[in-house]
């Protein structure tokens, strides 16, 4: 009897529970548990053991030292600042470049739209590292690209400002440039998704009521695409702030970004608690704006 009752419950509700539960179980096992391990590690004590941390000894339960160093040591604060500034600038440029592209995508015929959307995604088909190396080649002192920029610069400015080459490699400029190039599709796609949903008759209505096309954009298109701007902005900002590969390859080693710090603490320094504390701090830094946004988003949804 109980067997058949379970069977009945399973037939009615079990499948949907399984379907809804699967992603949660996945996130629990592969994200939440590892994250809790990192959190635990961040309050452990660094010891010359394997693995290189332990609980007990000098700080029997909780060792706050890694966190206090994150908040007081200039190295970490500067790295956070560099990361946030680089990621923010990259996000702004992605927005300025991506918005017209996304808007253009909504205004062309369906055939062109599919081709252009393909082109947006096309760079993903080649290796990410290969693309970064290509930029390193372009930015290097002896490249034709750098030569072209140098010649134009020397042509336009007084002799005393002339340069042998434009210093691009190993600067924050290079980091931002490559991040914009890499993350642009993550800005274009959510923007396109939100712009594509807009009703073109609203543009006509605004025009009909006396607005010129640029006023229509400010009054009607832009305010309605804010959710797309926020989504695209977060998709660019969050991974860009934690970026490791791009700053290591093209960035300024004297101004490391936070990803590099985490790698160095885990690797060379073998200070796992310190690395974990930085990682947890980074996550908190990223989660707060996301939570604020989804709070307002949910509030706006409830009003509908």
């Amino acid at each position: 009897m109980s067997q058949s009752r379970f069977q009945r419950w399973f037939d009615l509700k079990g499948w949907s529970a399984l379907l809804i539960g699967a992603p949660y179980i996945w996130l629990l096992v592969w994200f939440l548990l590892p994250f809790l391990i990192v959190v635990a590690m961040s309050v452990a004590t660094n010891t010359p053991t394997a693995p290189p941390f332990s609980f007990g000894g000098e700080h029997p339960w909780v060792n706050w030292e890694p966190f206090s160093r994150v908040l007081t040591d200039g190295l970490y604060l500067r790295a956070f600042l560099t990361s946030v500034v680089n990621a923010f600038v990259a996000m702004i440029f992605c927005l300025l470049l991506g918005y017209p592209m996304a808007l253009g995508l909504t205004r062309v015929s369906t055939n062109w739209r599919n081709i252009l959307l393909m082109l947006v995604i096309l760079p993903f088909w080649t290796s990410f590292l290969l693309r970064v190396y290509a930029w390193m080649g372009l930015m290097g002192k002896n490249s034709w690209f750098n030569g072209l920029l140098t010649d134009s610069w020397n042509f336009l400015v007084p002799m005393s400002w002339a340069m042998k080459s434009v210093p691009m490699m190993h600067t924050n400029f290079a980091v931002v440039l490559v991040m914009v190039y890499t993350y642009l599709p993550f800005m274009i796609l959510p923007l396109y998704a939100s712009l594509e949903r807009l009703d073109p008759t609203l543009d006509e209505a605004a025009m009909d009521l006396g607005s010129r096309p640029y006023q229509v954009f400010w009054d009607v298109t832009l305010p309605q695409s804010i959710p797309g701007i926020v989504a695209g902005g977060m998709l660019v900002f969050i991974p860009a702030a934690g970026e490791l590969v791009i700053p290591s390859l093209v960035g300024n080693a004297a101004q490391p970004m936070i990803g590099k710090i985490i790698q160095d603490e885990f690797g060379q320094a073998r200070d796992w608690p310190m690395a974990s504390a930085v990682a947890v701090a980074l996550l908190i830094l990223m989660v707060i704006p996301t939570m604020i946004y989804s709070h307002y988003q949910a509030k706006a949804e409830r009003l509908k």
């Binding site: 009703d199 008759t201 609203l202 006509e204 209505a205 605004a206 025009m207 009909d208 009521l209 006396g210 607005s211 010129r212 009054d219 009607v220 305010p223 309605q224 009003l303 509908k304």
Partner: protein
């Protein structure tokens, strides 16, 4: 309407519009006087919406000219035309409140102060009785209220011409009737010239002073609702507006303001109203509206009477629809049930032998 030598308020002259090889509007000529409610009536794809979009400035005519209040509208962009449109979907800005929607066009009125704008918005909201909803967003009000916001928004800048694209199509039946009268009263109070596009003949008939019936990009007939209904000039107009019994006929003779027709389907000769262009021996169509058909038990004293028997009867309450088999075919007759239930009154029933008759003045001859 207006005196013939006076320039009409809106003049559409030989306007055509093609999209590629498809001709959406073909050589339309129309004049509309100031303060009129003018309807463009037709089925989907008849070109009425394209014509409306040309008036709003969203499309440029391929050929022909549009004059509004004496001014040529060619190359005048939509944002400079004193013409506002109420869209079929209402096209309210979802991110703005009702008041902001209504006031949107007013920000382009440089002569108006901030207070003046607020006063105009309040006046418009009062006109459509939405004052208490001023701070709601469009998704927080009902469909009928949205329709009124759209109307208030289009009227706020006091346009010379208001274009209404299927203004009642999205409303349910009860609300439609109410809104129809409201639209008419608002038009009367504001004095703005209305051009209404609709596929609904009843809507066109009740709302408008004059109607242009369109088919396949052409204007088939222009006239008052009565003219269009009682004196259609083509089979298309007769069939599109209301229902009609249509028969093949041949003109026998023309005398004393009447046409004598041979109508095989009605078993012989029929007298009909004279029309221009009908010649003896010509093949024509005879159209009679179902409600002009009378059903009686005995032969009535009128020239147009045919015997038949009732095949079908649909009782609607206030009226009934009969389908009567005549020697040459089937006709429909619509009768008001004013006396059904009265003692002694004749009311035809299934399989009754009856006489179907109609007045010569109700018999419309269509030459085309």
């Amino acid at each position: 309407m207006s005196a013939p030598d006076v320039e009409p308020f809106l003049r559409i002259e030989g306007v055509s519009k093609s999209f590629g090889t498809f001709q959406a509007v073909k050589n339309v000529n129309l004049s509309v006087s100031k303060g009129e409610i003018f309807a463009l009536l037709g089925g989907s794809g008849c070109g009425k919406t394209t014509l409306l979009r040309m008036l709003a400035g969203f499309e440029e005519p391929t050929s022909g000219q549009i004059f509004l209040d004496g001014r040529d509208m060619a190359n005048v962009p939509p944002w400079q035309r004193p013409v506002h449109m109420m869209f079929q979907s209402y096209a309210l800005f979802p991110h703005m409140t009702v008041a902001a929607n209504v006031g949107y066009g007013l920000k382009h009125e440089k002569s108006l102060s901030k207070e003046g704008r607020a006063a105009r918005v309040a006046e418009m909201l009062d006109l459509v009785q939405l004052t208490q909803f001023a701070h709601r967003k469009p998704h927080q009000i009902s469909g009928g209220q949205r329709q009124r916001v759209a109307l208030a928004r289009a009227l706020a800048r006091q346009p010379k011409l208001l274009l209404l694209d299927e203004p009642l199509a999205a409303l349910d039946k009860k609300l439609r009737e109410h809104t129809q009268f409201e639209l008419m009263s608002i038009q009367e109070r504001t004095g703005v010239t209305f051009i209404v596009v609709t596929h609904d003949q009843e809507e066109a008939m009740t709302l408008s002073d004059r109607i242009a019936v369109m088919d396949k990009g052409e204007v088939k007939q222009i006239g008052s609702p009565t003219e269009i209904y009682e004196f259609p000039q083509s089979k298309f107009v007769a069939g599109f507006i209301g229902s009609v019994n249509s028969f093949e006929a041949r003109v026998i003779s023309r005398d004393k303001g009447h046409l004598r027709l041979d109508v095989p389907a009605l078993g012989g000769e029929i007298l009909a109203r004279d029309v221009a262009g009908a010649a003896e021996g010509q093949k024509v169509s005879l159209a009679v509206r179902p409600e002009k058909m009378r059903i009686t038990k005995d032969r009535p004293d009128t020239p147009n009477a045919v015997a038949g028997h009732v095949k079908d009867l649909a009782y609607f309450g206030k009226d009934s629809l009969y389908r009567v088999i005549l020697p040459g075919g089937l006709v429909q007759a619509h009768a008001v049930n004013a006396r059904r239930g009265d003692e002694g009154a004749f009311m035809a029933d299934w399989d009754d032998e009856v006489w179907v008759s109609f007045d010569p003045s109700s018999a419309i001859v269509l030459v085309d």
